[in-house]
Symmetry: C2
Subunit: 308 residues, 2 copies
């Protein structure tokens, strides 16, 4: 893996402003693009970053509140106008298809490429996408309507061979692939050599977890444990914890507590209420609990492969 | 009337670009705001111009192609979030209500102010709104789906009294309002004095016509005849007239021909295909037929009360 980064295209909650667009992120894993949420105007944010729309084949929509998907219909339409023919996959626990269809019905329009709608359950974490490099799992969240985050995880890498072990037990070359996959070795005399005598643990697989929108929810901890980068919503400050409770959003302190308990390497927070013009307040509240926190600043790109 | 202007918030067709937003215009008539179409991102264009959303009580949607209304849902949502309670009226020949409702259903959301959906017919021009200053009439257009433009016309002004006539025929003061309204006068001796002996014609009423999207259509001429300002779509150049015909759009030359035949004072053209980076080509084509043409430049405000 040579690239794994997350570009923040918007971090506002509710209404967009001139300085903060609504939620959208582009995740680039070895030049495969995954779009995470699609607030109004996302297609222009993609243009600003010179991102070719047609390279996006997978779109994940956390839930059907407008600030997370009102830019989708325009993006689908523009992809069509630009001549797209490639299949597009949309993953959501919400019924995106009905919304797309009502637009097409009234426009008497069509989309000239296949769209595959994948329904994501909300009872437990599910594998929703995988290829040879990446797995994407859902993260059931707690919000006013069905809502899931998504975990993007590099596939587990093969174990690394221990050359001395291979030599000691006279392992033939053709056995090495199986041994890298974790199997034990049976030598010519029928003796079992345990795998850990022949290999070292693999390099860690990188992972990014996106968790928005949600109330404080400890059930996500086992799913996101140890990820390199966690995006967690932090709509409010603790002083507005009552409001967070009513709206099933999290405070900056709660986001940081989840990060701490999940032992993630780094936390980025976003989805800020427009009542806060000074985002440092939110950042400082989070850092007081989990130091390795940053603002998910719009237009900033977080690189999971560089030590942050 | 002290103000009648048209602010261009977007003039792109189909896909938005970083320099050209999709169709939206704000019409300000004596500080009453009318929003004409609402492409994606219109709420941010309004913010850029420091226009208070809540002062918009009337929204006109020409048709349900995405480039003319995909910003509506976000605007309605933001009005709600900002605490709007005032009634909002939406006028369209398309079934906007169904689209709004499907969004609210999936968001389990509500809009905290009344929305009145007014269905506009497409068979003939209809009066769709009036108050003491303004009338708005629909303009049936010819497009792939039902589509109407709108004519914003200052109400006809009272006739102006001719002081010499009043004196000559000894008209008492209490008769003047009726005479200004165009009635004849019957003098003390029972003789009828015709109104035109007592008054002059009223000042012209100002009018703005918005015509997009449409093929070349002469049936609009009697509706828009003599308006101060005509916005007419000009998606293509004559060299792409075949494409205009297929898509039921107009060329710049066709827009100018309509302006000429309608004897309007000024034409502004927009809804340009993204294939044209040099808008001068479209402008020059139109001006060769109708000299008083300008580009409906984004962020430009056209004032109907100033001689252009």
């Amino acid at each position: 893996m040579t690239k794994f980064n997350v570009l923040i295209l918007g971090n506002a909650s509710a209404a967009p402003t001139l300085s903060r667009n609504q939620t959208a992120q582009l995740i680039n894993i070895d030049e495969q693009y995954f779009l995470m949420d699609c607030g109004e105007g996302t297609q222009l944010r993609l243009r600003e970053h010179n991102i070719k729309f047609q390279r996006i084949n997978h779109i994940f929509i956390s839930h059907l509140h407008g600030d997370h998907f009102l830019g989708l219909m325009g993006l689908l339409q523009t992809m069509h106008l630009l001549g797209r023919q490639t299949d597009l996959h949309i993953y959501s626990c919400g019924h995106v298809e009905e919304i797309v269809h009502v637009h097409l019905k009234h426009a008497k329009g069509n989309i000239g490429y296949p769209i595959h709608y994948h329904t994501v359950g909300t009872d437990q974490s599910e594998l929703v996408f995988e290829d040879h490099k990446v797995e994407v799992h859902s993260i059931p969240l707690k919000h006013k309507i069905p809502c899931t985050g998504f975990l993007f995880r590099e596939k587990q890498k093969p174990r690394k061979v221990n050359p001395e072990g291979l030599k000691k037990y006279k392992v033939p070359r053709f056995e090495i692939a199986r041994i890298k996959a974790g199997e034990d070795f049976i030598d010519a005399g029928g003796n079992t050599v345990p795998n850990d005598a022949l290999t070292f643990a693999p390099d860690a697989s990188h992972a990014y977890a996106f968790c928005s929108d949600t109330a404080y929810l400890e059930s996500i901890i086992p799913i996101i444990e140890g990820v390199d980068l966690l995006y967690h919503e932090a709509t409010f400050l603790e002083e507005h914890r009552d409001r967070a409770g009513q709206t099933l959003h999290a405070t900056a302190a709660q986001a940081a507590t989840i990060a701490l308990k999940s032992r993630v390497k780094k936390l980025i927070i976003g989805h800020f209420s427009n009542r806060y013009s000074d985002l440092e307040l939110l950042l400082n509240e989070a850092k007081s609990i989990f130091e390795a926190t940053e603002i998910a600043e719009q237009d900033r790109c977080f690189d999971l492969l560089k030590s942050q």
